[in-house]
Subunit: 414 residues, 2 copies
């Protein structure tokens, strides 16, 4: 393991979260204080910023603004969705990345993202090794989806989970205000293949205001069973709150949301095609089936950027994986992703460890079906035991004029 | 003015808010401490609970739970939407109300709601005067819509405004993460005839992350002008965030949301009719017009029950109107609504005053068009000056397990 001296660069990629900037803050503040790192650079819009030489110097930023990153949602450095080709097929991008790394003498590369980003990290790392350019490359995990392999959970998930559970509890309480006229409420929650966020809605049951029914993409969705479940719950409890993943599909793998958007073939009053949407589709089904008032609520982008409701635990862990990435890299580690390993202790604790990038790259971790009840329409206490610690701790967000005070970066070209 | 001795009853009506229970807490705690009030009763589901004798004794509730009402959204007493007939036409309900008032020796009636509820208050008050039953009746204002006449603003509005401005700012930041690929985002916000809540989204501009376009029902909505506005903004700023009231309509008064739901005549894959929805309708229009990525986000029920993001100022004022209602009534006032009057001072301050119920009943206060720019697609600083003080101050909410700790009432029948 060789200890390198040179510049570092940090980038963000994929969908933003409420705490991805806390990881960036962890990387930047730790790197600025490290003697082996001569210059702390950031790429705008991830790997695209490297390819296009849109690179700024974090050393020229106001440290007070850097310190505000933890309370700032979205990707402050700018994000991208860009998949690198295999270098054997086409190494154009790789040669350009090498050129930029050489131009700025970049010896450390920290990439903050999900499994696609870990794949990018892995490919760049392999290429640099092949051409013999010394550069330590560490992946910093983030995703609200919690589907990243190799880690107990993923920074970003806890805050989305806290917002979802809180919002579902509030709306559930609102729905029962009218007593026997309580509307049926259906929440559409993010998660194409992994139902972690829909499962998180179940946490609201800890305070007695959670969903009555929960449907994840891990198990096939039956419209008839769903309607029967709603009938039963409504009759038993006089109310019915449903949480469902955007990615639920039938046994043949057809997305239920797309059954809805077949009506998309039809045109609206303006002659434009109509978008689908799972919440609306299911709300229509239940409305026509029960004749009752139904509300379909899509949490949409709100659930991944609600920094005003972030989890203190998530914020701390997001910062820590960024910090530990720098310490590991300057310690000679490369080709790794920082991961959270839960300690086998009474009280919740997670340690940050380094795992091979290949372990995380492109793998997808789904919700264990054993954590669902036999009917596969509700999470069990096993899941609560796993998830509840992740939403603990107050949000740390500076406010100004009654609104969040977000970080403002100058982004002066390096 | 006669000072009465007897029981009081409090009820809630209409759509819940994040702080309506703070008003209930103000009424209950003040009434429990008042020597002229022999018993503090609450009606379940408002006037319906009185008609159906679903009445519970607040004196039997745990004071610690009463104290948690301020951090509890929805209507903790239960709400209703029930319009009393004119007593000249049919006085059945009124005779029943009198019967219940006599049964419990109710001499004070506090009704917490919007303009319909003030109308109910007013009708009951008139009837009791007609039949000579001594009972002091005071309306306690609430509505997120802020359309209640006779008051500077309405408890419930400030908290909804804070949540909307905060959420719009967070999502705006999220949208620009992808730089030139920033999606156009359209927020559908509550407000059928009054655009106060959509206007409140403009407050996010105070921190530089607000909507670029704002459309209120106070002015006719032109689809062509809207699309032209979006084109211009997207070209100028490389992004476009839109806030629009659910009630926007064209010059002929046709709701734009219904233009959307004409496609509702069509059937979906299940053969069920399709719901409309303004956000989806406008998102489709913009998507087809620009070919860009568009997100339609309906804030739906979230905006009226987000107690986790309530305004401290709103909470304090909501409690105070409840408290002052009891003090006014036991002081001999009747047939009034408590209102907020803004002091003509440098720093924001509101006094609580009593105004005639008739002033508030059924009247609807809309947004002054002078507070919009000439193009009528953005609010001006005049509005910011009015609205910004209303979202100040931190939320006071107890938490448990990282989630809100809501009040739990036993509701033992009186």
């Amino acid at each position: 393991m060789s200890v390198l001296k040179g510049a570092c660069i940090v980038g963000q990629s994929g969908g933003p979260t409420s705490v991805i900037n806390a990881s960036a803050q962890g990387v930047i503040e730790t790197a600025l204080a490290n003697e082996n790192i001569t210059r702390v650079l950031a790429a705008e819009n991830g790997i695209l910023g490297i390819l296009e030489d849109r690179i700024f110097d974090c050393g020229k930023e106001d440290p007070r603004e850097i310190a505000l990153l933890s309370g700032t949602p979205s990707s402050a450095l700018g994000s991208c969705r860009y998949k690198l080709k295999d270098s054997d097929v086409d190494d154009t991008d790789y040669r350009r990345i090498l050129e930029i790394f050489q131009k700025y003498d970049i010896r450390y590369f920290f990439y903050n993202g999900g499994n696609d980003s870990m794949d990018t990290c892995n490919k760049v790392s392999k290429y640099m090794q092949k051409v013999g350019y010394e550069c330590n490359i560490i992946g910093v995990p983030k995703t609200i989806d919690n589907d990243l392999a190799g880690t107990d959970h993923c920074p970003g998930f806890g805050s989305a989970a806290k917002y979802i559970a809180t919002s579902v509890a509030e709306v559930s309480l609102d729905a029962i205000a009218y007593g026997t006229n309580a509307p049926i409420v259906i929440f559409e929650i993010m998660g194409r293949n992994a139902g972690w966020l829909t499962a998180a809605a179940h946490l609201a049951n800890v305070i007695g205001e959670g969903p009555d029914l929960e449907y994840l993409p891990e198990v096939p969705f039956s419209v008839d069973q769903f309607l029967a479940d709603v009938d039963r719950v409504r009759a038993e409890k006089g109310k019915c709150i449903v949480a469902v993943s955007e990615g639920v599909h039938d046994a043949e793998g057809n997305f239920i949301s797309e059954l809805g958007s077949n009506l998309a073939q039809t045109k609206d009053a303006f002659g434009h095609s109509q978008m689908g949407g799972l919440a609306g589709t299911l709300a229509n089904l239940v409305k026509d089936h029960t004749g009752l008032k139904v509300r379909g609520i899509e949490l949409s982008l709100l659930q991944r950027c609600a920094a005003h409701c972030a989890s203190g635990t998530d914020l701390a862990e997001a910062y820590e994986v960024g910090k530990q990435a720098v310490l590991a890299a300057t310690n000679g580690e490369t080709d790794k992703m920082m991961a959270l390993r839960r300690a086998d202790s009474e009280d919740y604790r997670c340690d940050v460890v380094a795992v091979p990038l290949a372990e995380a790259a492109n793998a997808e971790r789904t919700v264990p079906v054993e954590w669902m009840n036999d009917a596969h329409n509700e999470m069990t206490d096993e899941f609560v035991k796993y998830c509840l610690p992740l939403i603990q701790g107050p949000t740390l967000q500076k406010t100004e004029n009654g609104l969040p005070r977000f970080a403002h970066l100058r982004k002066e070209h390096a």
